[in-house]
Every structure is written in C-alpha cells, then in structure tokens.
Amino acid sequence: MNFDLTEDRQMLSDTLRRYLSANCVIEKRNEIAYSAPFHSPQCWSEMAELGIPGALVDEAHGGYGGTGFDIAVVFEELGRALCPEPFLGTLLASRLLLAAGADQQDLIDGSVRYAVAISELDEPYDPAFMIASATRSGEGYALEGRKTAVYGGHVTDVLLVAAMLDGRPAVFSVEAKSAALTSYGMIDGGGAAEVVFDATPATLLIEDAGKALDDMFAAGRLALCAEAVGAMDVAYTLLLDYLRTRKQFGTAIGKFQALQHRAVDLLAEIEQARSITISLAAALGSDEAMPRSAMAKGLIGRVARLVAEETIQMQGGIAMTWEYASSHYAKRLVMIDHQLGDTDQCEGEIIRRYAAA
C-alpha cells in the first residue's frame, strides 16, 4: 500500500501545475474560457507538446500512462486551474479508440482533436436509451439524430458518436465538418456543441459498444471527479484565506465558531471526495470500475455542490462576484454534476444493481 505518487506522476503533476500557473491564472483563464473559441489554441498545442494527451494513453498504444492514477493526476491539475482546454474529449475518445484497437498517434501528438457525442435531448446520461441511430449505407453507415452538449465539439476535428445499430449501442467515427454543429460557450467556461446528423456518413468503430462505453464512462467520471477535487482544494484554500483575513464586528470572521465548524465539515467532505476518487482510480479497467464510478461521481456530486454553496455563503457577497475567483470555482463544481451522470443518475445505477443482485 502506498499513497504517494510515483516519481513520474509527481513530475507530470509538477510540470502541469507550473505550466498552468504561468499560462492559466484566473483572469487569463476567464478571458479564454468565456470568449470564442472558449479555449486557447495556443495552450492546447503547448499542453499537447508537454505530453498531456500521452499521459492519458498506455504505452502499448503510444502513450506513457493511461492508468487511473495518470488520469487523476492530469485532471486534478486541470481542475485546480479551471483549465478550459477540452481534454475530457481527448480522454473519452482515447478510451473508445483503445476499445476499437485503433491507432491513437494523432490524438497523442495533438494534431487531431477528438470529441465524443453521447447525450441527447431526451436522454442525458444513459447510452442504452439513446435515440440517434445508424443504418448501413453502401460501404459505410449513415447517422440520424441529434447529440447535445458535446464537450469540445465546437473545436473538434473528429466526432466519435454513440448511436444505435440494430438496437444496440455502437460507436461511429464522423468527420466533424460533415455534421451540422452549433457551437456555444458554457456557463462555467469552455465550449461545447449541439450536433445534428442527417444521413451523415460515418465509419463504424465499435459494433457492440456496451463494454467500451462503460469503460469510457468510468474513465470520464474519474477525470471529472479528479477535476472536482482539484477545484475544491483551491476553493477551500480561498475560503480559509478569506476567513483568516476578513474582519467583521472587529474580528476575523474565522474566529466565529459557527463558520469554523462548517469549514471543518467541508474539509472532512473534501477528504472523502479525494478518497473516493483514489478508489475509482484504482478500480479503473476492472469489473468494479463502472459501479465504483457511480459511487464516486454520486458522492462528488453531493460534495461539490456543498463546497460550492458553502464557500459562496461563508464568504458572502464577494463570492457572488465575477471578479473573485471563488465564484468561478463554484460554477465549475456545480456544473460537473451535469456531465456523464449526475448524482441522481449515479445513485440510480447503484440501487438498480442492488435490486438486480
């Protein structure tokens, strides 16, 4: 048993933190995250050069990482900086390409950008209930349907699309330029797209994709959990600084016991969030990954909302302002719940497993 990072991962973490401290301080981050294209092509390229995509892929496929702990290290740092670069799409795509046994070199070197289309208007989180579908068309396939909130879809080259084929979820590859995309910025920064498919030509990547999608969900949830942990750490540090320095009625408000006890409770919950993320990282790739991801993301959904709401409340008006970093951490922490399964979805998965056991 060892809870220290390996030397390699510690180095990755340090490199990333250094880069983001220099290039993604909060004012700069907000500029990037809230104006089209809602990320920085320059940062994207530089981070690809730093080897971020490669950290998400295992050695057998040209990367140098790809385990749960590699993913956690990367996304925790992205979370600390609220970095809006669309690496979630990279990760999700990489897991699908891995399942398909496809080459990932262009993903790893950052020359081709990938995004993954899952959610639909009538089914946000569960691919088994998708409506988008594919039919055979000559040599290839044709896609019909609409995908919603494709994270990073606004700047992607390739879309990997989950769609029904013969009543089962399958995954297709589509040139982004051949689909109808509507791009937008998100309330917590960064960009996404709505995508409409209308007889859109597609290449079949994975035919019976249930397992591949599970692995992708588990990895994506891990990334989001780690991102949340990173963001919570910073949000909590801001809170403690504020409690130490802000005075009211002549006293630092951190001397008020009601706030102290609430701050302690937040600390305990954040440590629990960190722990469940470690637990999921360790389970990635095993049969336990999907159920563990439901536990982890469900718990993180609860804790992240609590941290967001309590840090706003305890810092008062200042934390309600755009100018103060805390508000942006709060937004990201809340909106993470809306990605790849919210608390209700995750807890629902757990209890359906109880009922089936």
């Binding site: 998100m186 309330i187 008006g317 309600m320 755009w322 809340v334 990605q339």
Partner: protein
C-alpha cells in the same frame, strides 16, 4: 383555528387577479417568465402601472396615499403577482425609503419625496453596505463633513442593487468621527447625477449586472437632504432594516418555481420515462413541496401575529432563513432537471439559433447561481441566526 381567507380577503384576491389580468402586459410577464435580467424599461413600465392604480406603496397607510392593506392583503397581493409573473417591485423607494420618510422625514421631504415614489417617477437606490462593512453597519467609513449648508461626502458604497437604473440614492454616512461607532451616523438623500458620484457595475457570478459600487468624491449635498437628526441615522437604519416585509419568505415566487419544476420534470426524460417518474428526482420535489406547504402556513401564522399585535416579531428571521433555502432548493432542481441542457451560457452561442431545453429554461443555471445571493444579501442567514439567538432563544 381557521385557515380560510375571509370573504373580504377573497374579494380582494379576485380584485388583484382581475387587475393583473387586465393590466399586466404580456411582454412584461414573458420577460419575467424567461428568467433573464429585466431591463430598466420593464420595471419602470410596471411601476408606473402600479403607481396609477395606487398599488406601488403596498405597505403605506392611506394617509400617505397607500392602499392601507393589512399584512394578509399584502401577502395575497405578493402571491398573486408572482403567480402572474409580474416583476417584483423594486423595494428601495416604495418599501424602504417610503416608510422611513413617513416616520422620520420633515414635512417638506414628505411632500417632495413620497408622491414621486408612489407614481414610480423616482427610482431610489440604497447606499448602506461598504467594502469591509457588509452586515456590520456600525463600522462604515463614508464621511459627510459639514461645509456651510452642504455636506461634503467622500467614500464608497457597494452592493447597490439596480443602482444603474436609479436617479436618487439614500445613504448612511458618518458625520461624527469620535465616540461610539453607531452614534455618528446620519441618513442622507442624494441625486445620483450630483457631481462626484460615480456608479460602477459589479458583475455577478452568473455574468449579470445587478449590483454596483458607488463612489463619492467631494459630493456636495444640501443639508436639507438630511433625514431626521444628524448623528441619529443608526435608529433610522435599524427601523428600515427591521421594517416589516411581508414578502420576506418569497412564498409566491417559490410556489411559482415549484410549478415550473414540476412542469419541467414532466416534459424532460430519463431512461425513456418522464423525469418526474424517477423516484430519486421526484422525492427531491416532494420534500421541497412539503417544506413549502409548511412555509405557507408559517408565513400566514406570522402575518396573523403581525396583524394582531401591530408588528411582526423576530420570527420573520425564520421566514428569511427557510424561505431562501426553499427557493434555492427549487432553483437547484430546475437546473438539475436540465442535465447537460443547462450547460450553455445564455448569449454565448456562436452561430445558429440554439434551442436546447424546454421554453424559458435557458437561464435556469444562471438563475440558480444568481439566487445564491438571497441567503447573503439583506442580512445573511448567519446574521439572522445571530438575531434569533438573542431575541428568541435568549442565549
């Protein structure tokens, strides 16, 4: 015990409802329903409509041109307005300054100020909070120094809600610089266009412009703009802050928000069924609906007490605490229901016309974030707990 409204109250409700049906313009209710920030014109138009009816100073006695409503009638009015998606009345003139002038103002002030509030002609802003003195008014630093028949005001106010729309502002200023901190405070009125006043926007978490900073540099204000006595502003400030607000629990708004959440949960789907059939989501609605049902009665109980004893007790702090939490929980559900559809930042669509969630839900996430303010502004829920500790728990 009798929870039913009296026949007079039922008649009153019908009258309010008829008025709203006839007089509330569709474009105004549509704007309110959309959840986005309202422009000045919407508020102004609505204030003037209410003003013409004599229903803007809802808390005012008849002698000052108010409707002379009972607390229960004011509650009914508030609920019906929420139900019809009327804008909230911007409270600073009608509900805050009005009662202050009635109690502490000179005759000249009464004649000058009250009619212009009642008609919706004046838009007042509030200059209470300062950076470093949010809930702690005694420590405020904005100074007003006497120079002949003027005060010269220097300093800064903050959290001035909708100050960008106001033409006048009432402020707490320090006029005495020694002695106990509370003793040197005065209550001063100013025109916003007085030289030396600058209003700067504060952008809020969700991106909106709802509050402002106001800077004062050598602003010359006639001494006649002082309300009450010099250095006695603390009494006025407390009167204003504890002045009855029948609407503090926001029951009407929450009732409407509950209906919206239910409608949303019927139209959205999860796993092939309406979201409202997902027990884990539905039970969140059930809990907050129960809380709100209780809150309605809690609110009425306190109105009944207020009506009976002439003024509300410290229990109104309970209304504030639970009322804001219930409303925030409902906003949470409206955001949560949308799932990924809640992601877009309104107005940040690059190309094309993006329609994702059901009608009038684009702003749901923004409204959720914005409404975190309700448990902070106007005396945070922590301050309310301190008040209740002293007044009701006697600890």
């Amino acid at each position: 015990m009798d929870l039913t409204y009296s026949p007079q109250e039922e008649t009153f409700r019908a009258e309010v409802r008829a008025f709203l049906e006839a007089e509330l313009p569709d474009h105004i209710s549509a704007a309110v329903r959309s959840g986005v920030e309202l422009p000045r014109e919407i508020y102004q138009e609505w204030h003037e409509i209410l003003g013409r009816k004599g229903w803007l100073g809802t808390t005012w006695p008849k002698e000052y041109g108010g409707p002379g409503w009972t607390p229960v009638e004011r509650y009914i009015f508030d609920v019906e307005c929420s139900r019809a998606y009327a804008p909230r009345i911007v409270a600073f003139g009608p509900h805050m300054l009005g009662p202050v002038i009635q109690k502490f103002g000179s005759d000249a002030q009464k004649q000058d100020i009250l009619p212009r509030i009642l008609s919706g002609e004046d838009w007042w802003a509030q200059g209470y909070s300062e950076p470093g003195a949010g809930s702690d008014l005694a420590s405020l630093k904005t100074r007003a120094e006497r120079d002949g028949d003027h005060y010269v005001v220097n300093g800064q106010k903050t959290w001035t809600t909708l100050g960008q729309h106001a033409n006048r502002i009432f402020c707490l200023v320090r006029t005495k610089f020694d002695g106990k901190p509370q003793e040197g405070i005065s209550f001063l009125l100013m025109d916003i266009d007085t030289p030396g006043i600058e209003v700067r926007p504060i952008r809020l978490i969700e991106g909106g412009h709802e509050v402002n900073e106001v800077f004062f540099s050598d602003v010359r204000v006639p001494v006649s703009n002082l309300v009450g006595e010099e250095n006695k502003g603390w009494t006025i400030a407390k009167y204003l802050l504890t002045h009855e607000r029948t609407n503090i629990a926001g029951v009407g708004i929450s009732m409407q928000a509950l209906e919206e959440v239910k409608a949303l949960a019927r139209s959205l789907k999860r796993r092939g069924k309406p979201l409202i059939e997902d027990p884990l989501f539905a039970v969140r609605i059930a809990r907050v609906e129960s809380d709100l049902e209780a809150m309605k009665i809690t609110n009425l109980r306190m109105l009944f007490t207020a009506q009976k004893h002439g003024q509300p007790g410290p229990e109104t702090s309970i209304l504030k605490i639970k009322g804001t939490v219930i409303n925030q929980e409902l906003r949470d559900l409206a955001r949560r229901a949308l799932g990924p559809l809640a992601a877009p930042f309104p107005g940040h669509v690059i190309d094309g016309n993006l329609v994702m969630g059901p009608k009038d839900t684009d702003a749901n996430a923004a409204v959720y974030f914005n409404n975190r303010k309700t448990s902070i502004f106007g005396g945070s829920n922590e301050i309310q707990r301190n008040i209740l500790t002293k007044t009701m728990l006697e600890l």
